[in-house]
């Protein structure tokens, strides 16, 4: 079954969608969209470094994404507005990454594969890493779920319940770095944030509780992966962007349906 590249691609897409759903909900609730983007963009620098050092791309991307996220956490609230800081870090990380890749004259690499993903080239080993990472992210967020939710609502409520919001922020940061690392192959660094945000945002009108929003987001993400891959095959379009297009169309349809429903109530 895993011999079929379409099957491997589909499983990879669903794996990323499942990890991205609960994490994406927190990214939306905590307004960390740009933070996710910055972390993902930094990963291209990790890709360049791992190619130069001949180590695993997953490992390189994971380390650099984690360093980026920790740097942002550290610098927050020290003089610059959050979005300015992220604007500086996200784009400079991407630029340094692209420049670093150009130094790798010995190896000819397809930059597009890392910017927009190369899901059709997912190997069995990649699949193992993707599902391993996705399981880790879901387990991490599931374990900290209530504490994360309380800290997201209000930091003081969290403190009063004996929860340290800074520690919960670190949990999210770690989950984000892992997700970025496993999603590079599937959608590429430029579209990872889309996989986090769009399914979660699309799930909002259908949800009454945080838990249902995460589950619905996982469903929407998986459907986007399935339909997007199929569309890429039929129309011969790039796979990663096709998945994101499907998610965006679902988002638009559900938002309009939600608006119509509330206005007719």
């Amino acid at each position: 079954m895993l011999d079929d590249f379409m099957m491997r691609a589909t499983l990879a897409g669903i794996g990323v969608a499942l990890a991205a759903a609960p994490l994406g909900c927190f990214v939306v609730w905590r307004r960390m969209a740009y933070f996710g983007d910055a972390t993902a963009h930094a990963a291209i620098l990790g890709v360049a470094l791992s190619l130069a050092l001949s180590i695993s791309v997953f490992a390189g991307a994971l380390v650099i994404a984690l360093l980026m996220a920790l740097t942002v956490n550290l610098l927050t609230g020290r003089g610059y507005a959050m979005d300015t800081l992220l604007g500086v870090l996200a784009h400079s990380a991407l630029a340094f990454g692209l420049v670093a890749v150009s130094f790798l004259s010995g190896i000819r690499i397809d930059l597009m594969a890392y910017l927009f993903g190369d899901i059709l080239a997912v190997s069995r080993l990649d699949l193992t890493v993707i599902w391993g990472g996705a399981t880790l992210v879901v387990a991490l967020i599931g374990w900290r779920w209530s504490a994360l939710l309380t800290a997201t609502l209000n930091e003081d409520l969290a403190y009063a319940s004996g929860i340290d919001p800074k520690r919960e922020q670190l949990v999210l940061t770690l989950a984000l770095a892992i997700t970025v690392a496993v999603a590079i192959k599937v959608v590429g660094v430029l579209l990872i944030a889309a996989m986090l945000i769009i399914p979660a945002a699309a799930a909002r009108p259908l949800s009454r509780t945080p838990e249902s929003m995460a589950l619905v987001a996982a469903g929407i993400g998986s459907v986007s992966a399935l339909v997007g891959l199929r569309a890429a095959y039929v129309f011969d379009t790039p796979a990663g962007p096709s998945i994101v297009c499907v998610a965006a169309l679902i988002f638009a349809a559900l938002s309009i349906a939600g608006k119509v429903r509330t206005s007719t109530q």
Partner: protein
């Protein structure tokens, strides 16, 4: 044994000192109110008790395994976060249905269980916050201007609810409020704060203290502050608004 001991507490944000050399104790079952002008460090004091602010000097000691209930000044729930009252009340854990129902009834808002938090009125929202604070059967209830945004009858009713909760559960209450006349009437003890403890004691003692009068004036506010509803029933036209609420 005191629930909370604050010893020689100083707090500063950067170079700016907000509290210096504050000491106080909260005993089981008492209602203590902190009054003080804006920027006097009231919220910082409360936040240091829940562990959200690290003291620059001195220390805050909580009784071992002290159960805290905290009602924040304002809670903004992002519109992207769907949240029913039932789910909110159980956070950060999961609570039995009977406990949730009991807390809602105690806070004076039964039947809201399945409402979305975003659909609640200001008064309902504050009472749901109170209900959540009561879920863990607190020994100490902390309220930070919990009636902000409520009208006069609404906040008077809210504070009567607090007295009822104290009577029924025996928990101590430490609260901050701007509504001196409403709050002081319900307090056993008042602490007047302005970067340090200016004066403290029973409501009558504080209201007549020169330090308190220097901060809040001795005019209408002073007279209102002295109003207690266990005596002086309704001959004074100054207090009409309080009584309509009763």
């Amino acid at each position: 044994m005191s629930l909370v001991c604050v010893d020689d507490l100083s707090i500063s944000y950067g170079a700016k000192a907000v509290l210096s050399h504050v000491s106080l104790r909260i005993e089981p079952g008492e209602i203590v109110t902190i009054v003080g002008p804006n920027g006097s460090g009231k919220t910082s004091l409360l936040r240091s008790i829940i562990g959200a602010v690290k003291p620059a000097r001195g220390r805050v000691t909580r009784g071992s395994n002290l159960r805290l209930g905290y009602v924040p000044q304002r809670l903004h729930i992002d519109p992207t976060l769907p949240m029913t009252v039932a789910r909110f009340l159980a956070l950060p854990g999961r609570a039995a249905r009977t406990i949730i129902d009991g807390a809602l009834a105690q806070a004076g808002v039964p039947n809201l269980l399945n409402a979305q938090m975003s659909r609640l009125s200001g008064g309902q929202f504050q009472r749901v916050l109170l209900a959540r604070a009561l879920i863990g059967k607190p020994q100490l209830l902390l309220l930070d201007e919990a009636t902000q945004g409520l009208d006069q009858p609404g906040s008077a009713a809210f504070y009567r609810q607090i007295e009822t909760v104290r009577r029924d559960t025996g928990c101590a209450v430490l609260m901050i409020s701007h509504e001196l006349h409403v709050v002081m009437s319900a307090s056993d003890r008042v602490i007047c704060l302005n970067g340090h403890v200016c004066c403290e004691g029973t409501p009558e003692v504080v209201a007549s203290a020169p330090e308190y009068r220097a901060l809040f004036g001795s005019g209408t506010m002073g007279a209102l502050a002295l109003y207690r509803h266990d005596h002086d029933h309704g001959h004074d036209h100054h207090h009409d608004h309080t009584e309509t609420a009763e």
